[in-house]
């Protein structure tokens, strides 16, 4: 067969699954979501086009507050995750050698291979008022009565950071590994201090990795459902929980769809702003991850 024709057939053959996937499972479902969000119930089983769902979001400060709160907590969780993951990633990428490095990488992966449920169960055992940590605190005399460590915002943050670490560590390790040691040596040789080298050499080099990790972690936090609901207390408003509530306990798909869309839109806006601010491009960043 003629080479060009052959390539055209191959292209079609390969394009088909990709388009089915992206169209059928990503684009069209979101179009459906958008359509749903633009309808309101007018009677039993009857719906009409309407902006009510979005109006609710605007009119009712509760939802907007929930979103802001979710976003702020997610940003905080992302920052803490970055701060925590960076030294560990540095150690894995630059200090550990050979076997140790491999073992450490696998150790990082393992917790994420057992389900989020199990990890959360672990935190529940650890942190509840009658839990392990509280017991330890009392046994060591650091506390004289049971301490409730669950149901605080800080608990949610711990849970979120924990659930996100891997997704930060891996892109960081990937990008730090590609940093040639001799660049650091050269900077040091030219008189650079540790802080300066980190600021001028390491961070600029790792920027795509940092951005990739941060985006994924931010979106994961924002979209998390289990951790805030199980670890969070009576004030733990989480936007995905609102969406879930609308869909499941209120049977209001239209409202839920609008919330879902708003979450997607507002978070994309945040990510976009973050990328713009740091001068990165999404495609390049995700490739780096």
């Amino acid at each position: 067969m003629d080479v060009a024709a052959h390539r055209r057939w191959m292209l079609l053959f390969l394009l088909a699954p990709a388009l089915l996937w992206l169209g059928g499972l990503v684009v069209l479902p979101h179009v459906e979501l958008a359509l749903l969000s633009l309808q309101a119930r007018v009677g039993p089983g009857q719906y009409a086009a309407s902006l009510d769902q979005y109006r609710t979001f605007v009119d009712e400060p509760l939802y907007w507050n929930t979103f802001v709160r979710t976003a702020v907590m997610s940003v905080l969780a992302t920052l803490f995750t970055l701060l925590l993951a960076f030294p560990a990633a540095w150690y894995i990428a630059k200090v550990a050698q050979g076997r140790l490095k491999m073992v450490m990488l696998v150790l990082c992966l393992l917790p994420f291979w057992v389900s989020e449920m199990v990890r959360t169960l672990g935190w529940l055992i650890l942190l509840r008022e009658t839990g392990v940590v509280s017991g330890l605190l009392q046994a060591t005399g650091l506390a004289n009565q049971p301490v409730e460590l669950l149901y605080h915002d800080a608990t949610i943050l711990v849970g979120l950071v924990y659930a996100s670490l891997l997704f930060m560590v891996i892109p960081l390790v990937n990008s730090l590994e590609s940093l040639d040691d001799s660049l650091i040596e050269a900077a040091y040789d030219l008189g650079g201090s540790t802080a300066n080298i980190v600021r001028r050499i390491v961070i600029p080099h790792a920027a795509p990795g940092i951005a990739a990790g941060s985006i994924v972690v931010f979106m994961l936090c924002l979209g998390n459902y289990l951790t805030p609901t199980l670890l969070g207390g009576k004030d733990s408003l989480w936007f995905t929980e609102q969406i879930y509530t609308q869909f499941i306990t209120r049977f209001n798909w239209n409202q839920g769809a609008a919330f879902g869309f708003l979450l997607l839109f507002l978070s994309s806006l945040l990510v976009w702003a973050g990328l713009k601010l740091t001068g990165q491009r999404f495609g390049a960043v995700m490739k780096a991850s």
Partner: protein, 332 residues
């Protein structure tokens, strides 16, 4: 014939031995999915009534969703051995679950919502005591509609009477919302899964909670200090039912399961497992004497009379409640 029955129901409604016995007798395997009212409805809505052969929503949550989403099919009462049911319950359920002249459910298990109290550490006697200063930080409730209704009653109102007047109901709910918002500082957490609550009571982290009677009686078995108390303003009475999803594929098995379950000896076993009472005639006879005693303790004559039975929820009410619940959740 199809050899499995896909059942979506509450925890503890299908004890292992009952399931095994059923399978042995009929050759039908039972696949159980645990759920609650809202999730049951949502699931069936998403499937347009497919995916399950039998569901067990509460009787008050059938008519509304059926009108809205058409997720159930009418019961063929001729296939039900109606002689196995307590007639008054069957009749009450029939009334509440009739839509367009067709009946959609038969009763299975009934019980109440009230207070679970650790009598050693708490003296709560009505819902409003959940908000008493002395119980601060040691109480829990669900952030769901029963709580709103319970508080309305304890505030001296009758919410059920306002079901038909959306505006008045809304105003009442706003008041209840305010009270509950006030109360929020007292709450350790709003429980969602029953296990979370039970663990809290068991460990002493909680002293008082609004919950189903069954939870209180269960705890009472291991810790006699914990009791189920019918609140002064009245316990809320519910009936969980059997209903057929619109696109169930194995109605035969569903009817078989219903009739099997309503046999007195089976009903007794189920009721014991669930810790509640059954709508099966004569089921009480075979029930755990301990449970009977607990029931008698919790429900003196007056309290039994004072039980407020949920009427069917008209459409639209849940929207009003939802908004109020969200506000409570969001309040600082």
């Amino acid at each position: 014939q199809d050899k499995t029955l896909r059942l979506i129901t509450w925890a503890d409604y299908v004890p292992k031995d009952v399931m095994e016995q059923f399978t042995k007798e009929t050759g039908i395997k039972v696949e159980v999915t645990l759920s609650n009212n809202e999730e049951m409805i949502s699931k069936l809505r998403a499937t347009a009534g497919a995916g399950f052969d039998l569901a067990q929503p509460s009787q008050d949550r059938i008519a509304g969703p059926q009108a809205e989403f058409g997720i159930y099919k009418p019961m063929d009462l001729s296939k039900i051995k109606s002689e196995q049911f307590i007639p008054s319950m069957l009749e009450a359920t029939r009334l509440n679950t009739t839509v367009g002249g067709k009946v959609y459910a038969v009763p299975h298990i009934w019980g109440t919502d009230g207070l679970v109290v650790n009598t050693k550490t708490s003296k709560a006697a009505d819902y409003t005591d959940l908000c008493a200063a002395e119980n601060a930080g040691k109480v829990s409730m669900r952030l769901k509609r029963p709580t709103l209704i319970a508080f309305a009653f304890s505030m001296g109102k009758n919410p059920f009477a306002l079901y038909s007047d959306a505006k008045a109901y809304g105003a009442l709910m706003d008041d209840v919302g305010k009270a509950l918002t006030e109360c929020k500082k007292n709450v350790k957490f709003y429980w969602d899964g029953k296990d979370q609550l039970l663990a809290g009571m068991r460990s002493g982290e909680l002293t008082t909670a609004m919950m189903w009677d069954t939870g209180g009686w269960g705890l009472n078995k291991t810790n006699p200090d914990i009791k189920f108390v019918a609140p002064k303003s009245g316990a809320l009475g519910w009936v969980d039912t059997f209903a057929l999803p619109a696109k169930g594929k194995n109605d035969e098995a569903a009817y078989a399961w219903i009739n099997f379950n309503m046999r007195p000896e089976i009903a007794a076993k189920v009721a014991t497992s669930a810790g509640n009472f059954t709508a099966a005639k004569g089921g009480d006879a075979g029930m755990d004497p301990v449970l009977k005693k607990q029931f008698a303790d919790s429900f003196p004559e007056a309290a039994l009379k004072n039980i407020k039975w949920y009427p069917a929820v008209p459409a639209g009410i849940e929207d009003i409640e939802g908004r109020v619940l969200d506000r409570i959740k969001a309040a600082k």
